[in-house]
């Protein structure tokens, strides 16, 4: 039996892709930095330099000169993390829907060496998530589309909270620049035979996060990107 690794929060890179975010981002980043994590913000070509609003925070900022999409932003941060020899990275949304307090639960399977990649799920809790019917239906369909395309059946789809160990970090290479990256992560997980698991996480739906989040129309665009991805591998 292998013993759980010991790890300090400062050895954990938390990646936060941002694009034209409001003050909620500052709160999120302040909490993450306050918890002692190494925070990597990827400013994906925001109209106003993110550096101007969060320059005072102890975070690293990577900036795309033009907007490429969340998938591209994550991969840029992954490359940075690889250069820095990061042991574990967390991906975390800036819109305030994720809880900093969920991070330890996300890390646990990696530290116990039970998984290479841990995916947050809003549906693993007792009871149901506070979520609208149409959103729930879209996510259910997305789950099955992901399953059909990747062979990985999860309880949630497109949850932005994930943890990756070094192995996953070195294997996963995202080429989908926009939102289809969430499914591409599953393709890569399967392709490289990475160990994965899901842990329950809390999602708080605020007016802001709903407005920043994906609409049903966006999911059609994602599906289109996925079909092209499969066609032009």
């Amino acid at each position: 039996m292998s013993h759980p690794q010991q790890i300090h929060n400062s050895d954990i890179l938390v990646i936060v892709p941002v694009y034209n975010e409001s003050s909620v981002m500052v709160q999120t980043l302040t909490q993450l930095a306050g918890a002692g994590y190494q925070v990597i913000v990827v400013d994906d070509g925001s109209d106003v330099l993110v550096k101007k609003t969060i320059g005072h925070l102890p975070v690293t900022i990577l900036r795309h000169r033009v907007n490429l999409g969340q998938g591209a932003a994550l991969q840029t941060a992954f490359n940075y993390a690889k250069k820095k020899n990061a042991q574990v990275v967390i991906t975390f949304d800036a819109d305030g829907q994720h809880q900093v307090s969920d991070i330890p639960a996300l890390l646990a399977p990696i530290l116990q060496q039970k998984a290479d990649i841990v995916l947050g799920s809003r549906f693993l809790h007792e009871g149901s998530a506070p979520i609208g019917f149409s959103k729930k239906m879209v996510l259910q369909i997305a789950r099955f589309v992901n399953f059909l395309l990747s062979g990985v059946l999860l309880s949630d789809a497109h949850n932005g909270l994930r943890a990756l160990n070094r192995q996953a970090l070195s294997k996963i290479e995202l080429t989908e620049n926009r939102m289809a990256h969430a499914s591409e992560i599953l393709f890569e997980t399967k392709r490289h035979q990475l160990q994965y698991c899901e842990v329950p996480v809390h999602i708080s739906y605020t007016e802001y996060s709903k407005q920043k989040g994906q609409s049903a129309w966006d999911s059609i665009k994602i599906l289109f990107d996925l079909v092209l991805h499969k066609l032009f591998r």
Binding site: R63, R65, A72, Q75, N79, Y80, K83, L231, F232
Partner: protein, 112 residues
């Protein structure tokens, strides 16, 4: 000659001329261009030829055969263009990404 034939011939000859000027005068390119223009001109001047070919393929009219073939060709062209756009996007992404990482590294160096 009917009006439509004049219109189509003018179009084909202009496009042929345009390509001839733009091409880098490789023999193969010029042969392919010549064959395509010759075929277009032949079918415009003697449209009944297309019907003969169409009948052999169990299609009613020559115009229909050309229509079906055009759909196939356009589909192929669109797919090729999409593949090209995706390749360009990937190159573009790599440039922006390297730029972002380089800038971050320079900042890291400075703060040391």
């Amino acid at each position: 000659m009917t009006n439509i034939q004049v219109l189509l011939l003018t179009g084909v000859l202009f496009i042929g001329l345009y390509y001839l000027i733009r091409l880098k005068r490789r023999l193969l390119d010029i042969i392919i261009l010549f064959v395509m223009v010759a075929a277009a001109v032949t079918f415009i001047l003697w449209p009944d030829l297309t019907t003969i070919i169409a009948k052999k393929l169990n299609v009613g009219r020559g115009a229909d055969l050309i229509f079906y073939l055009s759909i196939l060709i356009f589909w192929f062209v669109i797919l090729k263009l999409y593949a090209r756009i995706r390749r360009l996007e990937q190159q573009f992404t790599a440039i922006i990404r390297n730029d972002a990482l380089k800038n971050a590294e320079e900042l890291d160096e400075k703060s040391k």
